[in-house]
């Protein structure tokens, strides 16, 4: 656990938070942020596709069913909880459901790096789970809002929203390069792995530095979210992770793979979901969903969540 805290990735994230608190003038150029995002999605997709080409259908199908179930159920209970207990508006509850049902590619990457450092094997096809889990929850969240709101202002049909999500940059890169990695196979992978594999953790370190800068600035918004959101943003990921790990075990994944599935369940989206919600749920207040996803759940997962879920997996598997 201490070893995990002392990884360059986590330390860079903490440095970013510290820099933001110190009001540092450190700022990543906007182009660099976007470039790093493109890199991470391409690299995850490409490697995952190549690894998927090495896996059998039987290995992949049960984890896939588990993954899709997770991201269909999580938004449902998140929505219910937010409405009943949290007293959030329909739009806000739906947006939170979309974010927590969807997944974070960066948390996923940090999870892979964590396991690599501990030399625990993770099934190579896990990036395909990441790709499958990104979009359904967002569609469910938006649909929940439409069903439950009498004043549906946004008329875009759900089908159109689905098309936009599939063509949205994060899923397009992830799924596109899954396919490319799959088709290009070993020969193709070897041509590009010096860029997409070897320096991956270094790039992730830079990205987490930037993520820390933003998370640190958002810490001052924590009070806007209130105690409820703070508790939710920490407790629910733990619950989701536990369910995810158990489902992963059921689906025949090894401990590493199951932990990563748990971490996917525990993570909240920060690229696809916010963009979709801005357009489809303008009535939802970004303070709620961005604060909880970015300033609570994301740092929690990166810093202490991942090691905790690893402990939970150890308990479940032994």
């Amino acid at each position: 656990m201490l070893a995990s805290l002392l990884s360059p990735m986590v330390l860079a994230f903490l440095l970013g938070i510290a820099a933001a608190r110190l009001k540092s003038d450190l700022k990543f150029p906007e182009g660099l942020y976007t470039s790093l995002t493109i890199y991470l999605l391409v690299a995850i997709g490409m490697k995952g596709g190549y690894k998927l080409s090495l896996a059998t259908f039987d290995e992949v199908i049960y984890p896939a069913i588990g993954a899709v179930s997770l991201c269909c159920i999580i938004p449902l209970w998140t929505y219910g909880l937010m409405r009943k207990v949290g007293k959030f508006s329909v739009a806000d509850a739906a947006a939170l459901a979309a974010h927590y049902g969807s997944v974070s590619a960066v948390t996923f990457s940090a999870a892979l790096a964590f396991h690599e450092n501990l030399k625990i094997e993770v099934e190579g096809f896990m990036p395909s789970m990441l790709a499958m889990m990104e979009i359904p929850a967002i569609l469910i969240g938006i649909t929940l809002a439409r069903i439950n709101s009498d004043s549906v202002v946004e008329q875009t049909p759900v089908k159109e929203v689905a098309r936009e999500l599939l063509a949205g940059k994060s899923s397009l890169l992830l799924m596109g390069f899954l396919v490319i990695g799959f088709l290009a196979g070993k020969g193709g992978w070897e041509q590009v792995s010096p860029l997409f594999d070897v320096p991956f953790k270094g790039i992730l370190t830079l990205f987490l530095l930037e993520a820390g800068l933003v998370a640190g600035r958002k810490l001052s918004d924590l009070k806007k979210g209130g105690v409820f959101l703070l508790a939710f943003g920490i407790i629910f990921p733990i619950i989701h992770a536990t369910i995810g790990i158990s489902l992963g075990q059921l689906a025949g994944l090894g401990m590493g793979g199951a932990t990563v599935l748990g971490i996917l369940a525990a993570s909240a989206s920060y690229i696809a979901a916010p963009a979709a919600c801005r357009v489809a749920l303008p009535g939802a207040n970004p303070s709620y969903y961005l604060t909880s996803a970015l300033a609570i759940t994301f740092p929690f997962n990166i810093i202490v969540g991942i090691p905790i879920y690893h402990q939970i997996a150890e308990m479940i598997y032994h």
Partner: protein
């Protein structure tokens, strides 16, 4: 040299495409876009996580300008962080703009 109107719209980046389609449909002959950041009492739009803004500028006739403004008011202004304003400018080659 003729009098025309310069209409400026500042709003969320994610809306760029829809707004552009709308203004062309309402009769604008062209537009210019730049990336900006901004802050107001209700929005922090100066980093890629919260999202940033775009500024769309349209040179057009008073009539189309008012039509676009009305459309923005109906469709976006109450629901999205967005502002819009306009003022007269002198242009060359007026046939270019309306």
């Amino acid at each position: 040299m003729t009098q025309a109107y310069l209409l400026t719209i500042i709003g969320e980046e994610v809306l760029e495409n829809v707004i552009e389609k709308d203004i062309m449909a309402l009769g604008a002959k062209g537009f210019t876009v730049s990336k900006v950041t901004g802050r107001s009492q209700s929005s922090v739009r100066d980093n890629p996580w919260d999202g940033e803004n775009i500024r769309i500028e349209i040179i057009t006739s008073e009539e189309i300008c008012l039509k676009i403004v009305q459309h923005l008011k109906d469709k976006y202004l109450e629901r999205y962080p967005m502002i819009t304003f306009f003022h007269p400018v002198t242009v060359l080659r007026m046939q270019h703009f309306y």
